[in-house]
């Protein structure tokens, strides 16, 4: 019995290695940073509001066996394009925000459909393919936004068009919709402002995901995630279902991007989406998810740990070796690091799981002596 407990502990440690590592690093860096609890609480709330919706957008493709999907970058682009338009039309407040979301939908669907089509030709290599596809579409996006907007696509507002007359500026000011959702139902706890409306929207998404798992479509995705050939033989339209899972993911990522940017208030036109893709995937992994298994809990925990780390590391770096810059390097380094480590761990774990049951058998034999 005792032995069993020990085994369970080891197993727990192993499956949660990445989150545990993060907790340990944070536990060390936290006192060094010298931040107050109130400040950190405030920061965590902000980060959850900004990022959680985006991270949750990753869950469905994982369920359908398509791994961590950089296709969400495409959805993020669609969200940005929606925001560019409403800024140009000068539609502000909640109206503007929801209009941006609605505008992003057709674009997300189109991009998601395309991404899904391509991934269907790259079965088993979805992660890399979607990563490369993200790069490629980034080029297309730049072409459209940098050269198409203001020339082919009418953009009137001078404030967002480059002085040469076409192309969107590097930074777009979103003052019109800034925190319009966050401030809709404000709730003050101490000095911290809790954006109840945004959290409500995230909660709706969580409920949707849980509910979705219990639908016929959700069941089909789970089946495909396990064995495409068997699912196909039972009459499930595998190609179509995979495309649907990517489309849902890109549409959600588009919404997530709008929520993310309304909180920040300015849009980094050419960089935001790439970063968002990588940081969301890294956050999910930090939360203990793996290539084939991810839950809502992983997303929440991941956002908290991952961003807490970034909040405290510049300060900790400064106080430790007098360099705040360290924190910024750290951020990119850690994101790539976490993604690679998680992939390696996933492979190792798969082998280890096979061996574990065997060790239990060997133990049983020894006990009898």
């Amino acid at each position: 019995m005792l032995k069993n407990d020990k085994d369970n502990v080891i197993k727990f440690l192993e499956t949660n290695l990445v989150p545990i590592l993060f907790v340990i690093i944070i536990a060390f860096a936290l006192p060094l940073s010298g931040f107050s609890v109130r400040y950190l609480f405030n920061e965590i709330i902000v980060r959850l509001v900004r990022n959680l919706f985006l991270v949750l957008a990753l869950l469905l493709p994982i369920m359908a066996g398509m791994g961590l999907n950089f296709g969400m970058v495409l959805g993020a682009m669609a969200g940005e394009i929606g925001l560019i338009f409403i800024t140009d039309w000068n539609i502000t407040g909640l109206h503007g925000m929801f209009l941006a979301m609605i505008l992003s939908i057709p674009l997300s669907i189109l991009l998601g459909w395309m991404c899904g089509k391509i991934l269907n030709r790259a079965k088993g290599r979805e992660m890399v393919t979607s990563y490369i596809l993200g790069f490629f579409m980034n080029g297309v996006y730049q072409l459209v936004v940098l050269y198409g907007m203001g020339s082919v696509i009418p953009i009137a507002s001078d404030s967002i068009v480059l002085s040469r007359g076409y192309g969107i500026r590097n930074a777009v000011n979103l003052t019109g919709i800034r925190q319009s959702l966050d401030k809709l139902l404000p709730l003050k706890i101490g000095t911290t402002l809790i954006p109840v409306a945004t959290f409500a929207l995230i909660a709706v998404l969580c409920v949707f995901i849980i509910w979705f798992r219990r639908t016929k479509l959700g069941q089909d995705m789970r089946a495909i995630g396990q064995d495409m050939a068997v699912a196909e033989a039972s009459g499930i339209d595998v190609a179509r279902t995979r495309i649907i899972s990517i489309i849902i993911s890109t549409v959600l990522a588009g919404f997530g991007m709008v929520i993310y940017l309304q909180n920040i208030g300015t849009m980094n036109t050419y960089n935001s989406h790439e970063q968002v893709g990588m940081f969301s995937i890294a956050a999910l992994l930090v939360g203990g998810a793996s290539v084939n298994r991810a839950k809502i809990g992983n997303a929440i925990l991941g956002v908290v740990l991952f961003h807490l780390m970034f909040v405290i590391s510049p300060m900790a770096g400064k106080n430790l070796i007098g360099q705040a810059q360290l924190g910024e390097y750290f951020r990119v380094f850690v994101s790539y690091g976490v993604i690679s480590i998680s992939l390696v761990l996933y492979a190792i774990r798969k082998q280890r799981d096979k061996a574990r049951a065997g060790i239990a058998l060997a133990d049983a034999q020894e006990v009898r002596d």
Partner: protein, 532 residues
């Protein structure tokens, strides 16, 4: 009931695979509620005939077929299995198609789940319906009941022994409420005798409820016991169609093979003087075939048999020793200790294995036969490689590979168009023979063969067993043969170990009466203990 047209009629069916004719003018009728036994040698065309009926896409991809099919008098020709399913035809294939991470219930109802409407359905269509778990459980239980087994509907497939998987698959076909005709392609090959018994009983019950069944098996006793009518195929032609009541096993066997079957007489038990392979305290974690604590010694040049009921662990022994499943214990071969958990070490030390699971680890299905036969020998022993420029480059010796392949194709009577045919295109039984050839060619010091005659027809069984004996006598190969057929073990082995609950229940000389082994399987030792 025979007032009008039969349930199924296949008329003048012919099929060739790129000029190789495998079915010639096959016609037969099947009445409602009738059980038809379909027998024939390996490669006779049984599976192909059923694939035509079921609309499998390979048939169309390879040029289609000629002839007509009538279901309840109406002409049909299915382009996909789904069309056949819609018309009430179900088929359980030679290999499994289940989702390991789903429960029995989820697999039985795969893509036919019970659902409930909700508001999203209006907007986004039927796939947004909620699953109705309660109803799914009820339906699954009902289907399991029809098979007549004890099967937990919430159990994951990955936790099941092989027999339960087979039952799950059959339950999946029976759950379809419009089912009129059930095709079972060698469903009993993976079942223990007691399990097969249950299956046969439920087949009887289904037929009494009006479901017609086409049953393919190489176990002729099952065919005789359960069918109403027997159809014998030889080289793609029907050579006999008779009601079961007017024939018997030996008549069927002879008609299948086209010659009289000789019964080989076993030699007396030989004596050996040198222990060659010594296994002690072996445990192996193979799901459904767990080995707990097994020790035995095998002599040099011996044929050692391992028998026992399904699920007791006999299959786990070779799989563990060869490193395919995690295990522990001590293996000593010719005085040297052999590491476990690494197939490479096992192969390098001169052991070879013919797996019972030819689908998963046996063959490179997309490659030609000569390549399949020689692959391991080339990898492990550098056989068939010609050095050029000293030892700088090694060249594959195609000629030698092809000659070796030809030799085995003749010796084992493998039915194929030639050594360059793809393994995929062979019938189930002939694929099994390729696996054997692959092991013989490395000339191992110890050869493990697991269920060597599973899925092999009555005539070819003797060829396979004789080849094993010949190898043993002429090359001195030590052979360890694992089989669920006691008679087979008793006809070739020198000694036989019976495995029960993951341990050796006893080791007896093969000449001992069958009853003694039976007692060991039941967990009771025969009166005077075993040799050893």
């Amino acid at each position: 009931m025979k007032d009008k047209s039969p349930l199924l009629e296949m008329r003048n069916i012919s099929k060739d695979f790129f000029g190789n004719s495998v079915l010639k003018d096959v016609s037969f009728k099947l009445e409602k509620g009738e059980i038809l036994g379909l027998v024939g040698e390996n490669g006779a065309g049984k599976t192909t005939l059923m694939k035509i009926l079921f609309g499998m896409t390979v048939i169309r991809d390879t040029g289609g077929y000629s002839g007509e099919i009538f279901l309840e008098g109406k002409p049909v020709s299915y382009k996909t299995p789904f069309e056949a399913l819609d018309d009430g035809i179900g088929m359980v294939h030679q290999e499994f198609s289940l989702l390991p991470g789903f429960t029995a219930a989820e697999n039985i109802l795969l893509n036919r789940e019970s659902t409930k409407n909700n508001f999203m359905t209006e907007l986004f269509g039927d796939r947004m319906k909620n699953l109705d778990r309660k109803d799914m459980r009820k339906r699954a239980l009902k289907a399991i009941g029809k098979v007549g087994v004890q099967l937990h509907e919430d159990m994951l497939i990955s936790d099941m022994p092989v027999g339960h998987k087979q039952f799950t698959e059959i339950a999946r076909e029976l759950e379809k409420d419009n089912i009129k005709l059930l095709v079972l392609d060698e469903p009993t090959a993976v079942l223990a005798e007691s399990e097969a018994e249950i299956l046969l009983k439920s087949m009887k019950k289904l037929s009494s409820e009006g479901i017609s069944i086409i049953f393919i098996s190489h176990r002729l006793r099952e065919i005789i016991n359960i069918t109403d009518k027997i159809l014998i195929l030889r080289d793609g032609r029907i050579i006999q169609e008779k009601p079961t009541s007017s024939t018997n096993i030996s008549e069927i066997a002879e008609a299948m093979v086209g010659r009289e079957l000789e019964v080989s007489k076993r030699e007396d038990v030989r004596v050996f003087d040198r222990t060659f392979l010594s296994v002690s305290r072996l445990w192996v974690n193979m799901p459904g075939e767990t080995v707990r604590d097994v020790s035995f010694d095998v002599n040099e040049g011996e044929i050692f048999g391992i028998g026992g009921l399904a699920g007791q662990g006999k299959l786990g022994i070779p799989n563990g020793i060869m490193g395919l499943f995690p295990g522990g214990g001590e293996i000593i071969l010719d005085g040297k200790k052999i590491g476990l958990n690494s197939p490479r070490i096992a192969l390098d030390s001169g052991m070879a294995f013919v797996s019972e699971d030819r689908r998963d680890v046996g063959l490179l299905l997309d490659e030609p036969l000569d390549w399949n036969i020689s692959f391991t020998a080339m990898q492990v022993q550098n056989k068939f490689l010609k050095p050029i420029f000293g030892n700088l480059i090694k060249w594959r010796d195609e000629k030698a590979i092809q000659n070796a392949a030809k030799g085995f194709i003749d010796a084992l009577e493998i039915k194929c168009t030639g050594y360059s045919q793809k393994a995929q295109e062979l019938s189930g039984g002939n694929q099994q023979k390729i696996c054997l050839a692959k092991a013989f060619i490395v000339e191992p010091r110890v050869l493990f063969v697991s269920e060597p005659t599973r899925g092999i027809d009555v005539g070819a069984k003797k060829i396979v067993l004789d080849t094993l004996i010949k190898n043993n006598r002429e090359k001195g190969t030590t052979i360890i043969m694992i089989s669920s057929e006691l008679e087979e073990l008793r006809s070739v082995c020198d000694r036989i170990a019976i495995v029960d609950e993951g341990k050796i229940a006893g080791i007896l000389p093969a000449t001992r009466p069958a009853a003694d082994f039976g007692l060991l399987m039941l967990g009771t030792a025969p009166v005077s203990g075993g040799a050893e």
